[in-house]
């Protein structure tokens, strides 16, 4: 692998750096090597997609970055400081449904805002309710929402605490293709408005190429970084342009799939 690709884009501050991270799970005395020597630097405000086959360790890598798991070896730093645990400045949006079913839409969005005064909190809640298009459902419980609405709610809950990083683990995986498209452009809109650093896990190549500044392609287990593909197309992206198709097909080849069905 060429080292140049591992480094963050020049001129920007490094937000996250992953150095020689390996992860081995031990269950019932059996060892599973999930990550092997992963190196990655992400700069401030960057949108990075982690792409790889199911079971290659994407969720595991994201969990170590967010501080839910400690890697077996290697270090992870955010803003130059080692990650020691989860932190409200870096919110994880879970692959499985993570909204709290016992709270209303308002309650969920306001969950991380207990330190604010009541008017501030209400204003913040109203702002994010509007941003993710859940007006009219403020008092509804998640059981009364559709899958896409729940997913938007979880994104809103994450954004409401104004984190500087977001970890999204296949957030749109369970949605139908139309909702998924809508959610992608909403996420891009939010990202462009608020300039968070986003690490986005997916196993959908198109999704990765549509969203990311750089696509990190991982190999099957034990997961290593196979290649990092910069997507140098300005948003909004023309997904029928020659360059888009070249990049996408390049990744298809990289993963070892002929782009034919």
């Amino acid at each position: 692998m060429v080292t140049k690709e591992v480094e963050a884009a020049p001129g920007l501050k490094t937000k996250l750096s992953v150095d020689n991270v390996s992860m081995t799970y031990k269950r019932d005395g059996k060892l599973t090597h999930v990550l092997e020597n992963v190196n990655l630097e992400v700069s401030d405000g960057e949108f990075v997609c982690l792409l790889g086959p199911s079971g290659c360790g994407k969720t595991t890598l994201l969990n170590t970055m967010a501080g839910f798991l400690t890697p077996t070896s290697g270090t992870i730093q955010v803003n130059g400081e080692a990650v020691r645990g989860p932190d409200p400045r870096r919110i994880f949006v879970f692959q499985e449904r993570g909204v709290f079913p016992w709270l209303t839409v308002e309650g969920n969005i306001g969950f991380g805002l207990s330190k604010l005064t009541k008017p501030e909190r209400e204003q913040r809640i109203a702002h994010y309710v509007k941003m993710v298009g859940l007006q009219g459902f403020e008092k509804s419980y998640p059981a009364e929402l559709s899958g896409g609405m729940k997913q938007r709610l979880e994104v809103a809950r994450a954004l409401a605490v104004n984190p500087d990083m977001l970890f999204l683990d296949e957030p749109f995986g369970a949605l139908d293709s139309i909702t998924r498209l809508v959610m992608r452009s909403e996420l891009l809109r939010i990202w462009q408005a608020e300039r968070k650093t986003i690490i986005f896990v997916t196993h959908d190549i198109d999704e990765a190429v549509q969203l990311a500044d750089r696509v990190v392609v991982m190999s099957a287990r034990p997961g290593t970084i196979q290649q990092i593909v910069p997507i140098d197309i300005a948003h909004p992206r023309d997904i029928s342009s020659q360059h888009y198709l070249e990049l996408r097909d390049g990744i298809f080849k990289q993963i070892g799939l002929a782009h034919q069905v």
Partner: protein
């Protein structure tokens, strides 16, 4: 009865011209709802009639008739026994059940939280579980003599294990996602318990409490048949022993059924609390 109500409201013309059609529609709607709500009562009435006919056609008189049973209940009221016995039984259930809940729920939640403790305790719990609380009656009498304490103890024993097991399960089934999300938003241990753990286990706990209260009500009757000399269970054995008053026996049974039903209705109303209701409606 409802008919008179309907004609009553029809005879107020000033109201009728305001929202004539809407009001009438609502009334019709209310009427059909009323009929639906009435159905279980009609069914009960039918059963009572069947009971009456069946008993009358039986010369051996194997059961008191419904009227004799009502007479029995009135007899109890007249002798100030009904209230006394109901209160005695409820008193024992309240104590036994509350003590069990206060001890079993926190213990069970803690055990469920620390999975290792659960693994160590599981075999003993599984051995204790099939033992009917009634098997403890001799021991209860040996330890506490004949009296309230024995009955309370038996209800405690009968409620403790089911509540413990429910709590262990409830704690174990809190998804990691919720706990992780809570930690991600910066919650400390106490806040995690109050804001994640407590709401997440509540729905299961309420179901467990409701079922266990039913069990406790079964146990109190049995315990009172042997271990004390008051209460609804005592009423039933006493009515038989002291003069074959089967009208009182059946009266006791009816009252036990009614109170058990009311207890269940009370617990069910907890399930309707909005922030507890999620787990009953979701997927």
């Amino acid at each position: 009865m409802c008919m008179s109500k309907m004609s009553g409201s029809d005879s107020i013309p000033q109201r009728a011209d305001m929202q004539a059609s809407g009001g009438r529609q609502k009334m019709r709607h209310g009427w059909s709802r009323f009929v639906v709500a009435l159905r279980p009562f009609l069914f009960i009435a039918l059963l009572i009639v069947a009971w009456d006919i069946a008993v009358r056609r039986q010369p051996a008189h194997l059961l008191p008739t419904p009227w004799e049973t009502v007479g029995g209940i009135l007899d109890l009221v007249r002798h100030n026994l009904l209230l006394k016995y109901v209160v005695a039984s409820l008193f024992r259930v309240t104590w036994g059940f509350s003590l069990a809940a206060i001890l079993a729920i926190p213990l069970g939640l803690a055990i469920g939280w620390y999975r290792r403790a659960e693994m160590a305790l599981n075999p003993i719990l599984q051995i204790l579980r099939p033992i009917s609380p009634l098997a403890w009656i001799p021991i209860a009498i040996l330890w506490f003599g004949v009296g309230d304490l024995s009955a309370v103890f038996l209800i405690f024993v009968g409620s403790f294990l089911p509540l413990l097991l429910t709590s262990i399960n409830a704690a174990r089934s809190v998804p990691d996602v919720y706990v992780n999300a809570g930690r991600n938003f910066g919650l400390g241990p106490m806040q995690l318990i109050a804001r994640i753990f407590y709401p997440a286990v509540m729905p299961q706990l309420i179901v467990g409490l409701r079922i266990t209260l039913g069990v406790a009500w079964l146990v109190v009757v049995a315990a009172e048949m042997i271990a004390v000399d008051s209460g609804l269970g005592f009423l039933i054995v006493d009515a038989r022993n002291a003069g074959n008053r089967y009208d009182l026996v059946v009266a006791g049974m009816v009252i036990i059924g009614l109170i058990g039903f009311l207890l269940d209705v009370g617990m069910r109303s907890l399930e309707k609390v909005k922030s507890f209701r999620w787990s009953y409606s979701e997927d």
